[in-house]
């Protein structure tokens, strides 16, 4: 067993873990933070995406011991006392989620994408989230949600999220 120290959503945590424990299980089982999901066993779907020191990472591919000394953000840490994170607001406004299972990972991936590229093109967004699978939305509205969040973060007027269903 290994003693590890890390932060999750700003809170210091100490855990005693087996070498083989995956980070996603540390978060879900040991810390009971179930917003981070598991959708596959090959690091393909991205449902388990979290931020580690600000970088998006698939928590099913990382051992818990590798989190030692790191600062982790999960979906539970996106909203603040001031309210929802712009990406959360964008997902709701643009109807970018249906079953909600891929949503936490997709949003965290988008947070990093927007940090690196505050005003991405549609193509950059599509490639940027191509490590995350969504089976419900067909991605149109996820692209819109990320554009909405980008505008909000840049302090610009947010684009319309009215359905173009004419």
């Amino acid at each position: 067993m290994h003693e590890i120290k890390f932060k999750v959503n700003g809170v210091e945590q100490i855990a005693s873990v087996e070498s083989r424990l995956l980070l996603v299980h540390l978060i879900r089982e040991n810390l009971s933070m179930t917003g981070t999901h598991i959708g596959c066993d090959t690091s393909s779907c991205g449902a388990c995406t979290v931020l580690i020191d600000g970088k998006s990472a698939k928590a099913c591919t990382i051992l818990a011991v590798q989190a030692n000394g790191k600062d982790i953000t999960t979906v539970e840490g996106l909203a603040t006392a001031e309210g929802l994170h712009p990406i959360q607001e964008g997902f709701k406004e643009a109807h970018a989620l249906q079953c909600g299972f891929c949503t936490p990972g997709m949003m965290l991936r988008a947070v990093e994408l927007l940090e690196k590229n505050p005003n991405p093109t549609e193509e950059e967004i599509r490639w940027g989230i191509s490590g995350n699978l969504c089976r419900c939305t067909g991605y149109n509205n996820i692209v819109k949600a990320i554009q909405y969040a980008g505008a909000k973060i840049r302090g610009e007027e947010v684009p319309s999220t009215e359905p173009e269903f004419v």
Partner: protein
Amino acid sequence: MIKCKTSKAIGGMGHSVKRKEDARFIQGKGNYVDDVKLPGMLYMDIVRSPYAYAKIKSIDASKALEIPGVVAVVTGKDLEKYNLHWMPTLMSDTQMVLPTDTVMYQAQEVAAVIATSRYIARDGKEAVIVDYEPMTPLMDPHKSLDADAPLLRPDKKDQTNNHIWHWDVGDKEATDKAFDNAEVVVKQHMYIPRIHVASIETCGCVASYNKVENHLTMYMTTQAPHAIRTVIALVAGHVGLTEEKIRVISPDIGGGFGGKVPVYPGYVIAIAVSFLTGAPIKWIEDRSENLQADSFARDYHIDVEMAGTKDGKIQATRFKVLADHGYTDASANPSKFPTGLFSIGTGSYDYGTAFMEADAVYTNKPPGGVAYRCSFRVTEAVHAIERITDIFAKEIGKDPAQLRFENFIKKEDFPWKSPTGWEYDSGDYEAGLRKAMDAVEYEKLRAEQAEKRKEGKLMGIGISTFTEVVGAGPSKDFDILGIKMFDSAEIRVHPTGKAIARFGTKSQGQGHETTYAQIVAEELGIPYEHVQIEEGDTDTAPYGLGTYASRSTPTAGAAAAVAARKLRDKAKKIAAYLLEVSEEDLEWEPGKFFVKGAPDRAKTIQEIVFAAYTNHPPGMEAGFEATHYYDPPNLTFPSGAYICVVDIDNETFEIKVRRFVAIDDCGNIINPMIVQGQVHGGLTQGIAPAMYEELIYDEQGNILNGTFMDYLVPTAVESPNWETGHTITPSPHHPIGAKGVGESPTVGAPPAIANAIVDALSVYGVTHMDIPITPYKIWKKLKEMGKI
């Protein structure tokens, strides 16, 4: 713009109100089955067969049981003691829970390991030693009926070969005659391959049996909790677990698409182990197990033929299907329809007479229901008719849009009797196609295509004008295991005018918490925000058959409207009493009754409901609640007109979907934002089988792409920017004029894409390609044709 009867604050039908369920999902507060954690809970993992067909010589669990934390290893022999080693399927067949002597498909459940943690259960699984004697599996359905084929279901009495059933519909004689006399006949063999729903959440459960109370609580990923409760009672009744002692809770579901309708062995084993140990048992599949062993879809080998005149009047169609059902009957129940609703195959057209037949056979492929956002074989039928229509158009040299216009069922001909026995409720196919052609600028595209062809570039335009059939269904025709396919709603309005409504369906992302609230808001004028929706708990919700096959709005949505109207009738009586007028003197506008000609003399719904608890008329029952079990008089028939434009690289044959315009008609629209979202998602599940997804098996029965590394679920890069729109042709028999929509795009998109690709390749003389169409397949085809 859609006209709304209610204000935005009430948020009835037609308003794109934001979803009520989103708050929890965007903040990580959803409650999916793997999030359920109970005190003393044990974990289950499943040992699966590496062989598609083999005798089990022995199972040695001793090494597994030596691992600290492994509590038990359960085999078929253990379950046999309680007669729990076989179970009925929802498709009226039987299936092994765990085998006692033979495995019938790769990844079949062979033994279950119970342990104190997920990791230890996996260790135990690795340590179980199973000695198999492999046999040659039957993987090709065309060989299922060969004399030397192994008999796969000797457990079934009267089963002397691998034939499951024969089915046919239509007028064979008239159809054959039409073909004999036709000027033009085209035929095509097509294979619609086996695919998998691959919802991002896999299947799983927590079975929690309380020995003291003799009560089972079953948290599980099920789209049909009530039917599952009845099935559990049927399976486990003989050990004392009767239906009132079973509570099925379907928590938030991470996508269903039909894959969470069947009962999988894992659920039953978990229940059995919880029953025997008294401990809650959690079983969660991993992705590979999910892809390899769970419910599949399609796997239809279709010969389709079309007869007509040289100038394009279609006179007859003929379909012959060989259905590969795997190890158990994968009939798309309802009981009366072994091929599901395949007989919708004459589509949106007045194509004269028709005859369809199908034979289903057993093979050594995994069993299941037939799930992929269309469980009832409509996709297969639509693919066949839309492809053969294009093939016919090509044969006679007519534009495929023009051929469709000339053969559409006319708007004024509804209700329309199809040659295979359906009564289509309503449709305006011409308007849909016209709108799609305008949106895509069809004539301009054809001109561009002609130019591109001169330059040697490959560009294709594909059309699909499909008719769907959803909303199963009327009790005269539709049942599952004898239970009629009604659905239900119960509305209870509290004294302060806020409501809770419960349903027999179960959302898996469709947004029922919002759309059902909007239906109640529409009918009662109570703001949708104050209508709480609950589904998925069999102890509290009224009985219903669940959510799949686009049936929720046609059935439970209708039930909500009818239940609300019962309440409005009661509200009218109370209003008349409070205003001291007769009921005839009252008029309704959303949210209040007022006296005709004196709009100031009014009672709001909130005042009326309060009176139902505080000042109800003498002789009237107090309270304000109503329940309705809705038995639809007919199915609903949504439709769509889709146009796809592709560019294909003439060296690499990479296919790029340049544009895809989808015009859907699902009748009256409850929430345009949600309908559009359903269409987007369905379209991506349409491009998936058209270009990417297929479950591939080798001759030994090994699945060759049983993980997400190689089963290609489209990402945001493969999925194009969908362009959507609608026409509205209300269903005349549905209380709010709505039809289902979730499946439509998955049904309609694949042939539009295939037609576009074939159109592009028609310069080489290509007339058909089976889906999924990949660059490699195109290269191979052209190579075989000697074109490159």
